[in-house]
């Protein structure tokens, strides 16, 4: 099975680790993520006003690219790895579904592009893993069970809000937990799992982000998490650098590593996981703790 895949800006730079791991995970699980040949920024944040259409154009272009590629691959799906891309593309898509007039206007405006027909289905990588592959199938392919490893799955906001685009329960999501359980890890229930990490406020109001990070991490640490796992490159950045600042200020006792779900999947599913285990020595130690 081949899926059209939209990376977005961050996965090519600071989130590169996530992309590399996810593409490999896909191969191990028997599907392929085919990157769109040309793509533009998705817009990052969905414009919430009722009267500005220009902000939706970049997302619309990406949807048209997906439509073109989908014809070749005979699918109407578009997979994203980044939570914010998922959120924006899905909200724009939904807006067109609910307002055919707006779709018509945009098609008239972008007359050098082919018309967008409004039938692309946006999926996050997690959704593909959970719905199309399934935890059972993942469990069957595990080479290194993550026994002893206490993992805190952190979702953040963009996968679950607003309700119209959520692919899991808004207040008690279980998709990541189910996948992690399939890998043999011990999943921790953190009440802060759907809290915001502060997002782009890292640029203008770092203190607000540190407040958010402190709440999330403290709840995670008091439950004994060895590692926090997230699908979002911005959450990963905020939680990692936020913890560093908080640790320097003495507001937390130790720093919990924050890694991408795809990296943990590689460690568990791949034979060649030595590179990752070298980077994440704490996981290696934990795995060895269970007696070899």
């Amino acid at each position: 099975m081949e899926y059209p895949y939209y990376p977005g800006c961050t996965l090519k730079t600071t989130g590169k680790k996530d992309e590399e791991a996810a593409l490999e995970v896909a191969k191990l699980l028997g599907f392929e993520l085919k990157e769109l040949p040309t793509w533009t920024c998705c817009g990052v944040v969905y414009n919430l006003t009722s009267d500005v259409m220009a902000d939706h154009l970049s997302a619309t272009r990406t949807l048209i690219r997906a439509q073109e590629m989908g014809r070749e691959l005979k699918t109407n799906k578009l997979v994203t790895l980044c939570s914010m891309c998922y959120n924006v593309l899905k909200q724009v898509n939904l807006m067109y579904k609910n307002n055919p007039d707006k779709l018509n206007n945009v098609n008239l405006f972008m007359d050098t592009e082919e018309d967008y027909l409004g039938n692309i289905e946006i999926m996050h990588f997690l959704e593909v893993l959970y719905n199309d592959i399934g935890p059972e199938m993942i469990k069957a392919k595990v080479k290194t069970p993550l026994t002893n490893l206490k993992v805190d799955p952190y979702y953040g906001c963009m996968l679950l809000r607003p309700k119209t685009i959520a692919f899991d329960d808004q207040d008690a999501p279980h998709v990541m937990g189910d996948i992690l359980s399939a890998l043999g890890a011990k999943v921790i229930e953190n009440p802060m799992t759907v809290e915001c990490c502060g997002a782009h406020q890292i640029i203008t109001n770092k203190e607000a982000v540190l407040d958010c990070v402190q709440r999330i991490v403290k709840a995670s640490q008091s439950r004994g998490a060895d590692v926090i796992v997230t699908p979002c490159p911005l959450c990963q950045y905020n939680l990692t650098t936020g913890q560093k600042s908080l640790f320097e200020k003495g507001k937390i006792n130790h720093q919990t590593p924050v890694i991408y779900l795809s990296e943990l999947l590689i460690i568990s599913l791949s034979d060649n996981n030595q590179d990752y285990l070298k980077d994440y020595k704490f996981i290696k130690d934990k795995l060895e703790e269970r007696g070899g």
Binding site: C9, C196, Q201, I203, A208
Partner: protein
């Protein structure tokens, strides 16, 4: 006591309602949005109070940092018992300022350019620009 709303106050209320597509009088001031907001501690004025000020057409609302601090995480919108999309109202207030040529971020400032050199993910930079610059 008779309470009158100024012309400008009425205009602000109308603009916020038009841009957000929300009925501001749906709000009955329970304060759930402020209780659930993850960044409320950094705000000059709690979100429910902001909505009250817009209802009353009080222009002081535009001097607060609340809508700039809002990270648009949609927690308030998800939990409002009256289904008011508060995130949209915050976006409307940002837009009232931005359309009036009052940007929150100066992208040519030294501070901002230094941020670009740090290893901050692009998505954060683009998001901040989209929320704070017209």
């Amino acid at each position: 006591m008779v309470f009158t709303v100024s012309e400008k106050g009425l205009e602000l209320r109308k603009n916020v309602e038009e841009i957000s597509g929300q009925n501001i009088f749906q709000c009955y001031q329970c304060g759930k949005c402020s209780a659930t907001c993850p960044v409320v501690d950094s705000m000059d004025m709690a979100p429910n109070k902001i909505i009250r000020f817009v209802q009353m057409g009080d222009l002081e609302v535009l001097d607060q940092n609340t809508f700039w601090v809002c990270a648009a995480c949609f927690t308030c919108s998800a939990r409002c018992p009256r289904s008011v999309d508060i995130a949209k109202i915050m976006e409307a207030l940002r837009n009232v300022m931005l359309r009036n040529k009052q940007d929150f971020i100066n992208i040519y400032s030294k501070e901002f350019i230094e941020k670009m050199i740090e290893e901050i993910p692009q998505m954060a930079i683009v998001a901040a620009i989209k929320k704070g610059v017209w």
